[in-house]
Subunit: 264 residues, 2 copies
Amino acid sequence: MTSNLKFTIDLAKRAGNLALSKMGKIQKITSKTDRRDVATDVDIKVEELIVEEIRKNFPHHNIIREEGQDIDNHSKDAWIIDPIDGTKYFAAGVKHFAVSIALWQKERPILGVVYQPGTDECWWAEKGGGAFLNNKKIKVSHLRTMADTIISVGGGGIANKSKKEQTEYLKVLNKIVPVCNRFRALGAGSLCLCYLAQGYLEAHISSPIRPAKIWDVAAGMIIAEEAGAKITNSKGKWPGRNTNDLIVTNGHIHQQLLKLLNKK
Amino acid sequence: MTSNLKFTIDLAKRAGNLALSKMGKIQKITSKTDRRDVATDVDIKVEELIVEEIRKNFPHHNIIREEGQDIDNHSKDAWIIDPIDGTKYFAAGVKHFAVSIALWQKERPILGVVYQPGTDECWWAEKGGGAFLNNKKIKVSHLRTMADTIISVGGGGIANKSKKEQTEYLKVLNKIVPVCNRFRALGAGSLCLCYLAQGYLEAHISSPIRPAKIWDVAAGMIIAEEAGAKITNSKGKWPGRNTNDLIVTNGHIHQQLLKLLNKK
């Protein structure tokens, strides 16, 4: 384990445990796009802790973050941070939320850590070093028959979207749901990618109209990849930081899924 | 707290911690209806522990259980047990699973306990006594505007179902998804009802073609009810143990949701 990874694991755990200690003690909720798209004072406090530590240790790196202003030092290295992925769960006192911290070099992640304080689980990966959950190596599932798979789809709930966008979203659901064994819509994209990395999900598809933000998935992407996952956009290309169109699978069903999603 | 409730909480915690201690050490997986509908040797061992304790303490009661044979003593009291709700999660090492134990008198629950060992959270309720999460009273959400709600739908993934059943399921999804703020498909029905009881979800709808079994929801139903939820079938009647058609809401959106689901 490199010192960068050790630093990131320690920081994610500190940040996650701070968030958990504040659960049920939220003092302020701010709505962003709608009444359920919220940030709490805890999101902001936890992000401050993470940013402060990164600035102290990596003063020349860029920082991309969910809540505050990004820091652009014209570096090829960027830390990408979500202090609380799953804020809606957190705000209701449900422990399905995680801290996500990743380091990217240009368009590729080189390390990622996701920590769920409510279960004390830490997933991590470094380029070329495999993926781990609490020190145990994890691997994607070996299933290759679509009818056996569990597939998750990102953020539905589209009451505030246009008719055209609603139709686009429902088209994806109506393609996926009938071909898989179970479909899931779990929220907290970071955890979806970790569940895929450890073999629970065979695929995760970002919503076409309420796509994952890069801070939701920046760490999960390398954790999934190092566990054997394949990650592309719907054209089969590496998505980079453009997560508007993101398809992650166990590899075995990737081509079948792309074909299905691209079918008119 | 009555002695029956204390007994049930202690038992659910013992059972849940036994399951958690066996995670990653499953020795045998048996498929039931398809490759993902599984029981492990751990489900069976945990159920045995629960049944043994109930028989010792309540020798004249009935027992309805997920894995083994039911016990019918012609009693009006029936214990309804799911040793591991969320076995697919459990089998993949994800801590999103729970023990569910309820006591029903004829067609009504009188106490229910759901314990998630991975987060050390215990939800419970007794008839008329309110609902609790780890000793803290919980209440359903107060939201009444459909476009603000989070709604979960039970067990999709319908590859093995007939075309007619697939269409029926998709009809429900296509009605729900466009009107809510977020939709969720989480698996583990017991936890869905607890999340509703604590205000994260505004509604949970059982799948019309892969409905919840009574052991998934028997405890969650009284926990939700005692937190203020409304529970009916699509005709607006108390469903009893017939969970093929089950709609649970925070009460405020119940009529709107029934109307929507009954629309041709």
